[in-house]
């Protein structure tokens, strides 16, 4: 019990201020490190403030001092008991070429599931178009996909004017932001135990399958591949990786075969989720450029063989990047 509150506050305030100063430095500069003596002093001040809080808790009227001490102890507690690595200075190149592909490989099972759901969707969409061509209107979200593929191909191959002239950059930035939003939503829907992510992946697959089979049945396979592959080689895997992140979140929430508390499980994947979705955003910038500046141009402007060859090179490089990049450094470590 404190008999003389003023004496108590006068004596203790310098220690509280010293603790506050250390905390302010730690909070302002993530790279700041305490040496051994400073760490001892910090711990001593934290324990002293904790003891003061315990004492002041018995003193009825000093709500303000109590709240101040609670805030001080809470901040110090966060610093002292935090065992996760401090965020170091962000190195974007190292992150993209090492951390991102390693994270992708570490969570590869979720990617395979994401791919499988999309393929099932593709099969469903393709079957729907094959069995009931009238379903096209219900399945295709965009009006330009609902028409006859033969007519569209003829129109675009005979076009004399560049329909994107003067708005390629705008179209490109629209695609980048739109696809990034879709990817974020695909991840975020993982909070529904993955159900929302599965629905979005399946729906994407349905559209892809329906469009593909529609053009194949119309005998326009070369146009289809030349149109979709240059940007789709990056865009489709990006959506699959976003799905991977969403399914990872869903799997963590379900917690099958993992006896850790939910909080710990979520803590364990938080960096992986952020890495995956940031990697997706970077890939979608590239896909946006390609879709606007290359994919929309067809023969005779650009031969299909060049577009398809470009797409094949892209998807091969992406596969090698995701499968191999960052392996050597990890082994050395």
């Amino acid at each position: 019990m404190i008999i003389d509150l003023n004496k108590f506050v006068t004596e203790e305030r310098p220690h509280w201020n010293a603790l506050d100063e250390i905390l302010a430095r730690l909070e302002e500069d993530p790279g700041y490190r305490l040496d051994l003596d400073q760490a001892r002093r910090f711990h001593y001040l934290y324990e002293r403030a904790s003891a003061d809080l315990a004492k002041i808790a018995t003193f009825s009227s000093e709500l303000e001092i109590r709240r101040y001490l609670e805030s001080l102890v809470a901040r110090a507690y966060g610093e002292i008991h935090e065992t996760r690595k401090r965020p170091h200075r962000f190195a974007p190149v190292e992150w993209f070429f090492q951390t991102f592909p390693r994270t992708f490989r570490r969570q590869i099972n979720a990617f395979w599931l994401s791919l499988a759901v999309t393929l099932v969707g593709c099969a469903f969409g393709g079957a729907a178009i094959a069995l009931d061509p009238a379903a096209k209107e219900a399945l295709m979200p965009f009006s330009h996909l609902q028409g006859d593929p033969g007519e569209r191909v003829a129109r675009e191959e005979q076009a004399q004017e560049d329909r994107l002239s003067g708005r390629k950059a705008t179209f490109s930035s629209f695609l980048m932001t739109h696809n990034t939003k879709v990817s974020i939503l695909t991840l975020a829907m993982g909070i529904t135990w993955g159900v929302g992510t599965v629905i979005l992946l399946f729906y994407n697959g349905v559209i892809l399958g329906a469009v593909s089979l529609d053009y194949i049945l119309a005998g326009k396979t070369a146009f289809l591949v030349g149109w979709l592959l240059p940007h789709g080689a990056v865009e489709i895997p990006s959506i699959l990786i976003a799905g991977q992140a969403g399914l990872l979140l869903g799997r963590t929430l379900i917690g099958r075969d993992d006896r850790q508390p939910l909080q710990l499980r979520l803590r364990g994947i938080s960096r992986d989720l952020v890495t995956l979705i940031t990697g997706v955003a970077v890939l979608l910038v590239w896909a946006g450029f390609i879709e606007s500046f290359l994919s929309q141009y067809h023969e005779p402007v650009i031969p299909y063989s060049i577009k398809i060859g470009f797409g094949v090179v892209e998807i091969t490089l992406l596969a090698v990047f995701l499968a191999r990049s960052g392996r050597k450094e990890k082994n050395e470590n």
Binding site: N6, F59, S60, P87, T180
Partner: protein, 252 residues
Amino acid sequence: MKTNSLLIKTPEGIVFSLMLAGPVTRFLAWTVDLACISAMTTAASIAVSLLGLISSDFAWAMMVLVFFAISIGYGMLTEWLWRGQTLGKRLLHLRVMDEQGLRLQPSQIVIRNLLRFVDSLPAFYLVGGIACLSSRRSQRLGDFAANTIVIRHPQIAKLDLDQLLAGKFNSFLKHPHLAARLRQNVSPQTAGVALQALLRREDLDPVARVELFSEMTSFFRSLVEFPPEATEGISDEQYIRNIVDILFRDKT
């Protein structure tokens, strides 16, 4: 059970509480942030429109990208720079914190902001609001996934006790040992109730005022019984005034 505070017990055995922010306060903070985002995008669009002198296509492209970057990045950047606060949260004295009281990590900030895509569905954060109301720790889905909570830390105004207690003799101060016992036995919340009753006494209906102070006097008597010579001839309201004087006044 849903509570408005989160108690954290440290390994040293110290318990501290964090007051949780409710959905209404958070919604108000969000409207302030929305206004900030609108103002920033308007300012940015004016600046970017100057690029139209070079190329209107490039200017439009930049506008789309800048709008996207501000709407997605505002929450992440401000919460990272201001340790869990956006401008709206600052104004309403709110702060994002780790659920276990640990240091807020950048990945937590990113996740809670990305999950806004679901929380804001179908409109006006309906999903997030319902989640917040039904959550034990007032968490929206983004907080849940990121292991974060939003706490409030109200500013406590200094009270002018001299004005409140002016010119009143306090007979209880002749018994310092009983005054010390009173300070020990009364919780901060109870002391606050007594103070508020005095501050708002003029707002009360006369009958209710008499009844309230009578009940409070009985309660404080049950905690510490002052001798008859200290309590004789004083009203219930003066009794509470003396109690508040002991609990709150600086003795130096």
